[in-house]
């Protein structure tokens, strides 16, 4: 790990330098609706400031909401020509992630790169560098400190920037991060370890994973699940906004002559998610679906992959039309 400093006036030059080097830079942008989304930008001026969290996560960069796996077309010889884009992914930088988002990428890595790595995720992730910004503010939906993280966490980041008076403290965590800094090394000065504490937000700690890990073992039969799910409208907003939700559907779109196979996001909250071809649906009501979602995040992924798949970003709470609260629900079912 390298430790550096860069002034707040030089950061724009560094950012623009990345664009000049031909990288695609994806950063938070304020849209007319007042919401902030991760979008490719053309200059530092477009980057949003003064916001707590983006509406959707940045997982779109490595796991797009719709991804062409390949296109096919009949050729003259009567066979099929296939085309995919794995060799044409551009060098990408995601700028302005929060530490919870970077922790989410950590989970995505664990999930997609198991025994049989997902080639599409890997191709994108290998070309992506994560530049994270520590949080100086938070709101009541944030709960990273309850899920083994905190507003200055370096987990999952290639570079972590912490804003301090007039400068940024730069923690370069990986090779990818190093080579990014080298793009404009002259803008940085070396430093020794500095304390970030007083520059970081203090989100309320709702619980600790230590407590939850035990209590959740008996949560499956809790009667609280019904109340926890009554307000649920059965849409996919929480899953799609979530930095770690990875469920997808694969659809073929096209004709006999030409077409494509696409992968698109799917959500376990949607009522048809587990419907079998026979018509039987093992998770027929929203109670069962919500239970599945929360148990997966806090128990099943811990048991199966060794990592809790909730990062405490609070997006699900903010986008939910009835603001169902994941940490309040976890507390009530593990009482």
């Amino acid at each position: 790990m390298e430790l550096k400093l860069i002034s707040t006036t030089d950061i724009a030059a560094f950012f623009d330098g990345l664009l000049k080097a031909g990288k695609v830079v994806v950063a938070p942008v304020l849209k007319q609706s007042g919401k902030v989304f991760f979008k490719p930008v053309q200059s530092f001026a477009e980057v949003a400031t003064e916001y707590i969290q983006t509406t959707f996560s940045a997982k779109e960069v490595v796991f797009p909401k719709v991804e062409e796996l390949f296109t096919y077309k009949h050729n003259e010889e009567g066979g099929l020509d296939f085309n995919d884009y794995l060799d044409r992914i551009p060098e990408t930088v995601i700028w302005g992630l929060r530490p919870c988002d970077a922790a989410g990428f950590d989970y995505l890595n664990v999930f997609f790169l198991q025994e049989h790595p997902d080639a599409y995720f890997k191709a994108r992730y290998d070309k992506t560098t994560l530049v994270t910004m520590s949080c100086s503010t938070c709101d009541e939906s944030c709960f990273c400190t309850s899920v083994d993280s905190h507003p200055g966490d370096t987990k999952g980041s290639d570079v972590l920037l912490t804003a301090m008076d007039g400068k940024y403290y730069v923690e370069v965590m990986t090779e990818k991060g190093s080579s990014l800094i080298n793009n404009n090394l002259e803008l940085f000065t070396s430093t020794e370890t500095l304390s970030k504490e007083r520059f970081l937000a203090k989100p309320a700690t709702r619980f600790s994973m230590e407590e939850i890990k035990d209590r959740i073992q008996n949560a499956y039969d809790s009667v609280e699940w019904k109340q926890a799910s009554m307000g649920c409208y059965s849409c996919g907003a929480c899953a799609f906004a979530c930095p770690t939700c990875t469920c997808f559907d694969i659809q073929d779109e096209g004709t006999q002559d030409h077409g494509k196979r696409v992968r698109c996001w799917d959500a376990c909250a949607l009522s048809q998610f587990t419907k079998h071809a026979s018509g039987h649906n093992p998770r027929k009501t929203q109670t069962e679906r919500r239970r599945q979602r929360l148990m997966h995040k806090f128990k099943y992924s811990v048991e199966n992959l060794g990592i809790v798949s909730c990062v405490g970003c609070g997006r699900c709470i903010r986008v939910c039309p009835s603001h169902l609260n994941i940490f309040e629900n976890i507390l009530s079912v593990t009482k």
């Binding site: 695609v24 960069v61 797009p64 296109t71 551009p90 990408t92 030409h258 077409g259």
Partner: protein, 157 residues
């Protein structure tokens, strides 16, 4: 010389009037543009607006929707329902910015073979002037990986 653009026109027609009118144009040996692909329905009242969307999705450059004149519907009132549906659908498409000049609605009876031929010719020429409906295919440019979908879209047309 550059190749002239040949628009793909999909026609949704009712069996009893417009399809019969098209047959009449055929038996009368009337020459008209070959760009049209006709889809036969029992009645215009059966035409779901999603079918029109599906036609554009599959690469149509223009659409014709045609049926029996009001009061002449084989099923009495199918075309009255269709008329309402088209009024609402056209105004929705217009509101969303869809080029509704690519869609022609008409009443063509079984005796109007010439009207059918003229309709197809006029629609073909007006859609030819508008050019291919690339606006629709170009909607799907992927923002994150900047991949040249236009090239791929052209290849796979």
């Amino acid at each position: 010389m550059a190749e002239t653009f040949e628009p793909k026109i999909v026609a949704f027609v009712c069996n009893w009037c417009t399809y019969a009118g098209a047959d009449l144009a055929g038996t009368s040996r009337t020459k008209y543009a070959t760009n049209v692909r006709i889809i036969r329905f029992p009645c215009t009242g059966r035409i779901d607006f999603m079918l029109l969307i599906k036609a554009f999705q599959n690469g149509a450059d223009g659409i014709i929707v045609s049926g029996c004149h009001p009061n002449d519907c084989h099923y009495t009132s199918g075309n009255f329902h269709a008329r309402r549906r088209w009024m609402v659908f056209k105004s929705l498409l217009d509101f969303m910015g869809f080029p509704t000049d690519r869609i022609t609605f008409s009443w063509v009876s079984a005796a109007e073979g010439k009207k059918w031929a003229d309709l197809v010719n006029e629609t073909t020429e007006s859609v030819r002037a508008l050019g291919p409906f690339t606006d629709y295919k170009n909607l799907d440019f992927t923002q994150f990986n900047q991949i040249d979908h236009e090239g791929i879209a052209e290849q796979s047309r």
